[in-house]
């Protein structure tokens, strides 16, 4: 059965500052922020986002995103299309399987830490 993580399960993000990035983040560009980051655009391969809190990408996430960069293991990464080069949450690092045969799903996904592992689930705004 597919697990789903809903909005209610997320750590309260309203107490932290949130940066709204209103563009596509391209290769070589780097966004660092002491809070949450929301990107209204894509994150391309070679681009980096590092946030102390959550990261949400309203577009395709193809680059590198580090959520909870200051060590917050409850931080999550949400993207409309999750096809990253690498994902990092707190001190965990993951990458897609070798071979390149996997396909990005057609629904939003969320990456979070569960049982000391980064897992990726379908993202449902409400249960």
């Amino acid at each position: 059965m597919e697990m789903a993580l809903a909005l209610d399960d997320l750590k309260d993000i309203q107490k932290e500052k949130t940066l709204l990035v209103q563009k596509t983040v391209r290769s070589g560009q780097c966004i660092r922020f002491e809070g949450n980051v929301v990107v209204l655009g894509d994150v391309n391969p070679g681009a980096e986002i590092a946030a102390a809190g959550h990261v949400a990408v309203f577009g395709a996430l193809r680059g590198l995103v580090h959520a909870g960069a200051k060590g917050d293991k409850e931080a999550v990464i949400i993207a409309l299309s999750l096809e990253p080069t690498q994902l990092r949450i707190a001190d965990h690092i993951t990458r897609p399987p070798d071979g390149g045969n996997w396909e990005a799903s057609s629904f939003p996904e969320i990456a979070h830490i569960q049982d000391n592992m980064v897992v990726i689930d379908r993202y449902l705004p409400s249960k």
């Binding site: 070589g28 780097c30 391969p45 980096e48 690498q86 897609p96």
Partner: protein, 264 residues
């Protein structure tokens, strides 16, 4: 003590990174312990061509700045135990490191590896100077185009001025049919101008495009003519005497007839 080779060209797009990936993989294929260094800070590509992009955690700049140990930044290849990559940083620029830092880094790597292969950025500025700082030998890549050969000539002059004597030449992307038809500079034309030792010639091969995009160096493919060329080049670097590849394309019956009528 290993050898430190820099692969450079002056002009962009002639195949420095592809050459680095293939020579590095070729040497690893022969059992040598190899590390490839991407010095194109801000425009890194070597990791993509080798299919190792998603393994990068630390990079060259992190090592030089002391953010991590050298061992932590070295990425072990997924095919060969004895092949490593030190990737460039993507979110910094060429001024992030200095020539003396590169010299120190190369000296450290040289202790550990049989071959240290440096992928140089295009141009003759800061990035080029950094890339050649720690090298003991240079390989210049060019294509049979007047502009690429002009830039190669400039680079050879700069390399000699920097104390890298007797650079070796690789002529990349030769199309034998165009050379035969007199539409492309021939190897002889290029050697006349550049007058350095020829390390190898690489035919234009559609397979290179596929292999570069897949992150699988062509040198690993037995069927690829360019792959064969790179295997030969790797052997020559190791000191073997290998004759130049015969890159004449096999001409079919109809092609011969067309050629007879001057239609190539």
């Amino acid at each position: 003590m290993g050898e430190v080779l820099v692969i450079t060209s002056g002009k962009g797009g002639v195949g420095k990174t592809t050459t680095t990936a293939n020579i590095g993989t070729g040497l690893a294929l022969m059992g040598k312990k190899v590390v490839m260094l991407d010095t194109d800070i801000g425009l890194r590509n070597l990791d993509v061509v080798l299919g190792l992009e998603n393994r990068i955690v630390y990079d060259l700049v992190d090592v030089v700045w002391g953010n991590c140990r050298l061992k932590q930044a070295l990425i072990k290849d997924k095919r060969f135990e004895n092949m490593f990559l030190l990737p460039a940083a993507q979110t910094k620029d060429k001024t992030a490191i200095t020539a003396s830092q590169m010299r120190e880094l190369c000296a450290n790597l040289q202790e550990e590896f049989d071959y240290v292969i440096i992928d140089c950025p295009a141009g003759i500025e800061h990035g080029f100077k950094n890339a050649i700082a720690g090298a003991k030998q240079a390989i210049v890549v060019t294509t049979p185009e007047v502009s690429a050969v002009r830039d190669a000539d400039r680079i050879i002059g700069l390399l000699e001025a920097a104390g890298l004597k007797a650079p070796k030449l690789i002529i990349n992307r030769i199309r034998s049919r165009m050379v035969q038809a007199g539409d492309m500079m021939s190897i002889e034309d290029i050697m006349d101008i550049l007058a350095v030792d020829l390390l190898g010639i690489v035919p234009d091969d559609d397979f290179i495009v596929v292999s570069t995009n897949r992150g699988e160096p062509a040198v690993l493919d037995e069927r690829s003519l360019a792959g064969q060329a790179y295997r030969n080049i790797s052997k020559r670097i190791m000191g073997e005497e290998i004759p130049l590849l015969n890159i004449q394309e096999k001409t079919g019956f109809w092609q011969k007839i067309r050629q007879a009528f001057g239609n190539r």
